[in-house]
């Protein structure tokens, strides 16, 4: 039984890790879910004992199985359920703001914003040097130098 469980854990973890390295965000989330299931199975495997059901009143003399791992697994499943929902909603927000779920597209967007920001910095420095150029340059959403120092 331990062997079967450890095989299952390793297959789940391995495929989860493989999916997490993909560039599609949905696959990343599914990979994450599979890895957390691997962890849940591992908790079950960590307390495998043969015995009767641990329901009160306990049977005299006979061993009971370990109830603690099941409680832990249940908690872990609930947590990973909540986290998956959160992750999916974050993926949805990323999709609505980038119109893409591909990590390459996101990286490209990051680069675009960074170059825009650098260009802006150069314009600002030049503007400060001849003092006259007080015209506000078109701002991106990255680093507007507004008085409260907000970044958005």
């Amino acid at each position: 039984m331990t062997l079967i469980l450890s095989l299952a854990v390793s297959i789940l973890f391995g495929s989860g890790a493989y999916l997490m390295l993909k560039s599609d965000l949905i696959r990343v989330v599914i990979g994450m879910v599979m890895i957390s299931h691997a962890a849940s199975l591992l908790i079950m495997a960590s307390g495998l004992t043969r015995g009767d059901a641990p329901i009160y009143p306990l049977p005299e003399g006979a061993p009971v199985s370990d109830p603690l791992v099941q409680a832990m697994t249940l908690t872990a499943i609930v947590i990973s359920f909540g986290v998956s929902a959160l992750l999916l909603s974050m993926v949805y927000r990323v999709y609505t703001s980038h119109l893409s779920l591909d990590l390459d597209d996101l990286a490209a967007a990051e680069e675009r914003e960074e170059t825009a920001q650098e260009r802006e910095n150069i314009v600002e420095t030049a503007g400060a040097q001849d003092e006259a150029a007080a015209a506000p340059s078109p701002r991106q959403d990255t680093h507007p130098p507004n008085p409260d120092g907000d970044q958005s």
């Binding site: 591992l42 960590s46 909540g82 400060a128 959403d141 409260d148 120092g149 907000d150 970044q151 958005s152």
Partner: protein, 464 residues
């Protein structure tokens, strides 16, 4: 009762606030009030622990060994107080500027719940549950602002740290398997009779899990993107409050429960810590955006925690705790002040910079002295020389990058000339935090004795 209050106040307030609109002024101030109440309760608990020693209670009135144990000792209480202070500063800062998301105050309070919970629990699985409470609110907070930049940061942060949490859960399952208990005290008693191999593998997994949270050198890849992507208050929370989980976890699970394995891994800790310091400092020197340089500086600073842990002994543990406290306060100050304008803010930033560098009036000096004391207390001369050289070089590099940032943010930045100074109330928060750092540096006795007391909780291990 006294043990439950620091946990219950932010918890209840967080649940209530989750139903309210956080953008309203009233909700924001309600959050500030309840977080302050939680901090007062924690300080009260700390005073009690200081006078009468550790307090423990079993939830639900179950007999010991069956129920889940809450436990407050000097170490946990110090970390809880520190994290709540940082959260309070960040929350007041953001409330004064106007909160932009309805979930922000609730998330801060739930994170406070998670953090105090994990610092005050005596049960390894409960540690994981509170850890997840804190992490989930952190995932939501990283997306605060909801611009594409923050959303990308939140995505990276959530995926990497979830993996870290799962690794931690696996380590807990492994610890349960080898010790047959989830109670930290029982684990500590049983671990010496556990065979070496399983214990070493378990501690390696634990180490990786906490290093991901800390952003230590080989596990740091997520950190710069996240710290520069998020808003200043959130970056301050992540580096000032959430990163404490990593240091506390390493102290609690490494030094307290698995001291033998920590001793075996000490050379690895020293090497990784040194690499982290050098790498973080060099990267920070080469960065131009203040937020990015600060992010790399955070990677460098956690290296000191690791070095102090690796050198070990009561002096080393006290140094590790002191470095964590100092680092968390100064990083909060730096992240909050780097984007504000006005001359007092510049002075506050300079105080934070001095604290990171380790120059006397600021509290960072104490951390540097403690680190030097630790390295001189080791037995072998080569280790002594390397460590002292490393600390001096790290400090010098920190001086370079800190004043590069200062120059860029407060002297060269053209908007400085025209832009009006930031809102006075926000500046006041920053100045208050700066004076706290200065005060702790000028009157170091309480902090020093607190960190020593916290280090005394941990079992002694020979200095290598």
């Amino acid at each position: 009762m006294i043990l439950v209050l620091p946990l219950a106040i932010p918890w209840v307030a967080g649940v209530i606030l989750a139903a309210l609109d956080g953008r309203r002024r009233g909700a924001g101030w309600l959050a500030v009030l309840s977080l302050a109440a939680g901090l007062v309760a924690t300080v009260w608990l700390a005073v009690d622990v200081h006078r009468h020693g550790p307090i423990g209670s079993v939830a639900g009135g179950w007999p010991g060994g069956v129920g889940i144990r809450l436990q407050a000792d000097a170490l946990g209480v110090l970390f809880a107080g520190l994290s709540l202070t940082v959260l309070l500063f960040a929350l007041v800062f953001e409330t004064l500027g106007g909160v932009r998301s309805r979930t922000f105050p609730a998330c801060i309070l739930l994170m406070a719940t998670g953090l105090t919970g994990l610092f005050l629990t005596g049960d390894a699985f409960n540690f994981y549950v509170f850890f997840e409470i804190a992490m989930i609110s952190a995932y939501v907070l990283t997306g605060y602002g909801e611009r594409s930049r923050q959303l990308r940061a939140a995505m990276i942060f959530a995926v990497v740290n979830l993996l870290g949490s799962v690794l931690f859960l696996i380590a807990i399952a492994a610890l349960y398997h080898v010790t047959g208990s989830l109670d930290m005290e029982e684990m500590r008693d049983r671990i010496p009779v556990v065979q070496e191999n399983p214990a070493i593998i378990t501690s390696a997994v634990l180490f990786v899990a906490f290093s991901v949270k800390l952003g230590l050198f080989p596990f740091h890849f997520w950190l710069p993107a996240v710290y520069t992507g998020t808003r200043p208050a959130v970056a301050a929370i992540l580096s000032g409050a959430l990163a404490n989980i990593g240091s506390y976890g390493l102290l609690r699970f490494g030094a307290d429960i698995l001291p033998r394995e920590l001793g075996l891994g000490a050379p690895a800790l020293l090497i990784l810590g040194s690499l982290s310091i050098i790498y973080g400092a060099l990267q920070a020197v080469s960065r131009h955006v203040p937020g990015e340089a600060l992010a790399y500086s955070a990677i460098g600073q956690v290296g000191y925690v690791l070095i102090a842990l690796g050198l070990g002994g009561p002096v080393g543990y006290a140094a590790a705790i002191l470095v964590t406290v100092v680092n968390s306060l100064s990083k909060t100050l730096l992240f909050l002040s780097a984007n504000l304008r006005g001359w007092l803010v510049g002075a506050a930033f300079a105080v934070g910079a001095l604290s990171v560098v380790g120059v006397p009036p600021a509290v960072g000096f104490l951390a540097k002295v403690a680190l030097l004391r630790t390295s001189l207390s080791t037995a072998t001369t080569p280790v002594q020389i390397t460590m002292v050289a490393l600390i001096v070089v790290g400090g010098a590099l920190a001086f370079v990058y800190m004043f590069q940032i200062y120059q860029r943010a407060f002297w060269l930045a053209p908007e400085n000339v025209d832009a009006p100074p930031s809102r006075a109330a926000r500046r006041a928060v920053v100045v208050l935090l700066a004076s706290l750092i200065l005060a702790l540096g000028l009157w170091p006795e309480p902090l020093l004795s607190l960190s020593e007391q916290a280090a005394n909780v941990l079992p002694e291990r020979g200095i290598p």
